[in-house]
């Protein structure tokens, strides 16, 4: 059963982990540079600069690893959760190969130092046109896999009229729908503005408009990373902890709210942009607060679901049940630690979103400190935990559980130290995306050096954890002899709830999504298109 789907998710994971190993390799180099130990000169002529490494780190980890893992994982559990094979497996494979072609083509200019423009690809820095086309292919490939999931889901609904779809498939398809909608921004930026400009077909580019289209996608991108972890936290982890999903209905409600509220909030990444009026930024600030609400729902619902498990396993007292959670299971442990660290990431996120409070930390090292807790931990660390059951499930061979447990605790410890260092130095005024080892000499103080040392120490621990992760996965996939049967964890709802019809009806939600996006974005985008701002030619400023 699900032979094709297994092959599909296996290949997605293989490419995702290749990207993570390339992107992750540069992480410690950045952390060490901050701490005053710059290894980049020794990498010449292969890697020209810190910033080339930083570009590969961001694109490899945050764009390529995540997209491949998420696409593969969600495709697989959509099929298994609906208990039917993907309706259009060829479309899924076509999507996969489109993404692979995009990745391979993008790697060439990245390693030749022709596209050291970081993952935000801000114009008027200009990379070769085929780099942008390659990035478009990665996104379009993920769309195709998403369509395949949606077609499968629609067929299930047709065959099961009036029935509530299983949570895992439902949440996966919402995540992919969110991705389709929000990537319209970056698609417009690439196809209308950047690619014609990089081909020399038009004389220049409107920089403020390009930024606005980028961040149309840039914030919901965060939810594209996070929601697959939520699928596991709601739909799988309660089962791993012997618990049940506390409220299936509220879980579905939260996913609808994410679909509704993730996109019309992009200006909170542009609070300090000169070309967007304060009133529009304020509107998006308020809507950003609104999207915290479904995350608060998630915190309650997931914690309550795990508590059911902890108590069933013999836990007593107000918090005593926490001890009884399956801390000997690396898959569970990694995800539960990710969840706890995400509380800090979420709290930092509220600060970032807070309009004028944001002035204190905007563009400082605080921001990468924040997103290493969110995409680098809540998402990536959860994905590692998921792979600790998914890889044995696919191969039928056990992983080294003890080593995997060490990996999990080291990741948590390393990330807390590393991220604390970046938050701290950011509050002191250190800019993000900067060779801080040099900047400290230029305009830092003694206190900066203590904070940067923390990033170096934390980065070293993360490197150790990362190496253990790859060791566990490679050993489990290719060398392990111990046979196991691992089933997909599927959390049952606590109550036999009847899900209200309005939580099963796509049309009103989708209408509301587009209506809110039009209200929050259309006037400003039209204004930027017609405001007569001067166009910029392309620049190559990375040596």
């Amino acid at each position: 059963m699900f032979k094709t789907e297994k092959k599909l998710v296996g290949w997605h994971i293989a490419v995702a982990l290749t990207a993570l190993s390339i992107g992750g390799f540069f992480g410690p180099l950045q952390a060490w540079e901050h701490a005053g130990w710059n290894l980049y000169p020794s990498m010449q002529p292969y890697i020209a600069s810190y910033y080339q490494g930083l570009t590969i780190h961001g694109i490899g980890n945050a764009l390529v690893f995540t997209t491949f893992f998420i696409t593969g994982f969600l495709s697989y559990i959509t099929a298994t959760s609906l208990d039917r094979p993907l309706a259009t497996p060829k479309l899924s494979w076509a999507g996969f190969f489109t993404m692979v072609v995009g990745l391979v083509v993008a790697l060439i200019p990245l390693f030749l130092n022709l596209a050291s423009i970081l993952y935000t690809m801000y114009p008027p820095m200009m990379a070769p046109w085929y780099f942008y086309v390659a990035m478009v292919l990665v996104v379009v490939g993920s769309w195709m896999s998403g369509w395949s999931m949606m077609i499968t889901f629609a067929k299930w609904r047709k065959d099961n009229p009036g029935k509530t779809p299983p949570f895992q498939a439902f949440a996966s398809v919402i995540t992919m729908a969110l991705w389709q909608i929000c990537t319209l921004g970056i698609a417009a930026e690439m196809l209308i503005l950047i690619i014609p400009w990089s081909l020399g077909l038009v004389p220049g580019i409107d920089v403020q408009l390009a930024r606005t289209l980028f961040w149309f996608t840039g914030h919901p991108l965060v939810y594209f990373w996070l929601l697959p972890a939520y699928v596991s936290w709601y739909g799988m982890m309660p089962k791993q902890a012997d618990g049940k999903l506390f409220s299936d209905t509220m879980a579905r409600f939260a996913f609808w709210l994410f679909l509704l509220l993730s996109t019309p909030i992009g200006f909170h990444h542009q609070y300090v942009d000169p070309g967007v009026p304060a009133g529009w930024k304020y509107l998006h600030a308020i809507l950003t607060y609104a999207v915290f609400f479904p995350s608060l729902l998630t915190a309650f619902n997931v914690a309550a679901s795990l508590e059911i498990g902890g108590r069933k396993r013999g836990g007593k007292g107000l918090l005593g049940w926490v001890k009884n959670l399956p801390w000997n299971d690396p898959s569970y442990t990694a995800q539960n630690l990710a969840m706890i660290i995400f509380i800090l990431g979420g709290a930092g996120g509220v600060i970032n979103a807070s309009y004028n409070v944001n002035l204190v930390i905007h563009n400082t090292a605080w921001v990468p400190g924040h997103f290493h807790l969110t995409v680098g931990t809540a998402a990536t660390f959860s994905f590692m935990g998921i792979m600790y059951w998914l890889v044995p499930h696919l191969t039928g061979k056990a992983i080294m559980r003890k080593t995997a447990l060490w990996q999990a605790w080291l990741w948590a410890a390393g990330m807390l130290i590393f991220s604390r260092g970046l938050h701290w130095i950011g509050l002191l005024g250190a800019p993000r995306r900067t060779m801080l080892g040099v900047a400290i000499e230029n305009y830092g103080t003694g206190e900066w050096q203590v904070a940067s040392l923390m990033t170096g120490v934390g980065g070293t621990i993360l490197l150790t954890s990362g190496l253990l992760f790859f060791y566990v996965i490679i050993h489990g996939a290719f060398f392990s002899k111990e046979e196991v049967v691992v089933e997909i964890p599927v959390a049952e709802p606590l109550h036999d709830e009847v899900v209200p019809a309005w939580l099963n009806n796509w049309k009103p939600w989708l209408i509301a999504v587009f209506a809110l996006i039009i209200v929050a974005y259309a006037p400003m985008i039209i204004n930027l298109v017609f405001d007569g701002a001067a166009y910029s030619p392309g620049f190559q400023v990375w040596g």
């Binding site: 000169p274 608060l296 800019p431």
Partner: protein, 162 residues
């Protein structure tokens, strides 16, 4: 079907109410701080042609301009060839109110005046504007906060308040 009511646990209801109250308090706080106390994010001030910005107008000769006693405008041009701000050193008397106008002649830059709320993107085509009153003497570094090429970490200047 639509008559089915959603089941919400009483504890969850309380949690939701607390969550909403906290978010509303935050929203009121940023609103009061922004629109009554004047701690504001930048708004559009002027469109600038980056291709001619260095040739004419205020950015051809950037620097401090006194409008009236204690009141100044400071024009700063950011460039990536070489990576620097023009000017890199500015002196103002304590108590001076300075309106910062910053733009870019090439790629995107950032501008952050350390230990103040002056923090904005510097984009080609746009002028970024915010105002600050210097109540204390000392040195205030201003640094580029957006990646602008391999010399980005060397891009900074200093305002000396005497």
């Amino acid at each position: 079907m639509s008559s089915e009511k959603m089941h919400i646990d009483p504890y969850e209801k309380k949690f939701m109410v607390i969550g909403i109250v906290v978010l509303v308090v935050f929203a009121i706080s940023i609103t009061v701080a922004g629109f009554m106390l004047g701690i504001q994010v930048p708004s559009p001030s002027q469109l600038i042609d980056p291709n001619t910005v260095a040739d004419s107008g205020p950015y051809a000769d950037p620097g401090l301009k006194e409008l009236s006693p204690g009141n100044y405008e400071l024009y700063i041009l950011a460039t990536a060839s070489p990576w620097r701000f023009y000017p890199e050193e500015v002196s103002v008397p304590v108590g001076a109110t300075v309106t910062f106008h910053v733009t870019s002649a090439d790629v995107q830059h950032g501008f952050k005046l350390q230990d103040t709320n002056i923090n904005f993107m510097v984009l080609p085509g746009q002028q970024s504007t915010l105002t600050y009153t210097f109540e204390e003497t000392g040195e205030y570094p201003y640094v580029c906060t957006e990646y602008c090429g391999v010399g980005h970490q060397n891009m900074y200047g200093v305002i000396t308040v005497e």
